[in-house]
Amino acid sequence: MNYLNLLLRLLIWFLLTADLSLANIVIGLAVVLVLPNRKGRATLGDWLRVIGNILISIPLAYVEALEMIFFPHSAEEVTLERVRVNRIPALIFLDIFVITFTPKTIVLNYRDDGYYEVHRVKRQ
Amino acid sequence: MTVVLMLMLAVLLIPIYVGARDQDVWQRMLAFCSIATKTSIMILVIAVIRSDWAIGVVGVLILSLGNAALMLLAHILRRLNEL
């Protein structure tokens, strides 16, 4: 059983319900245990790095937005970015989330040979 | 706060106009996506001003479900283009 995964699910449950009564804790535990579990090769370090990336990306997104407002970015380009090897689907999803969340870059496609196609805007 | 709502309404007119004008289906999808987010944020603002919890819950539900519906619509449109 992957304890980290269970902890993450419990956190989401409590954020969703915002209720710490005993009945709600019991219901949350039941839901968390019943949801299907998939074995992955992600380590604690992988998760921590992704969570750190998400926290960094929030102020970064605002900085990029202000840059886009004050300096017009009118050129577009498509680049390829390499995925780190041996990633489980949840981590790939979070990677795509972090890249797309910052306004200058959007993931267009995730290719099976291990590349993201990233669309970005640039200053001319 | 009323001024804020007025300004929001004024901004909301832009995507509504684009959605009514544009012939390309993807530009229309963009406009609809923008309308969905803006209206649900307006619902949230109204709910918080009136301190009415029920309206706020409706706003949050629209915020998540409306976007999910647009996602499904985008996938269906892509399939139709592939046919």
């Binding site: 954020l15 797309t100 306004p103 959007i106 | 923008s34 592939e82």
Partner: protein, 92 residues
């Protein structure tokens, strides 16, 4: 002080909204408009929600949920729209 912070955040959000929505009127590609919409609809709306959170802390759980669903759903919708619109153009 609290009022000042909250109104600053809300006006910042409104500026983002206006700036990001105006390119919809132009004749750029769908992807370019998607970039500016992610400024307005995700970041601008998040700024407005945080402003409301500072102003009315009693409704924190509702606003927090709105913040999370804004960030996740709008971002994923941007990815899905980019992916689908390009797939359509390639075949069409």
């Amino acid at each position: 002080m609290k009022e000042f912070i909250s109104y600053t955040l809300i006006s910042l959000g409104l500026v983002f909204w206006l700036w990001g929505t105006l390119p919809l009127l132009g004749k750029r590609s769908v992807l370019f408009k998607l970039h500016s919409l992610s400024v307005s609809d995700t970041l601008g709306s998040m700024a407005i929600t945080v402003g409301l959170l500072v102003h009315f802390p009693a409704d924190w759980s509702l606003l927090f949920l709105a913040l999370i669903s804004l960030a996740i759903w709008n971002t994923i919708l941007g990815y899905v729209l980019a992916f689908c619109s390009r797939g359509g153009q390639k075949d069409g």
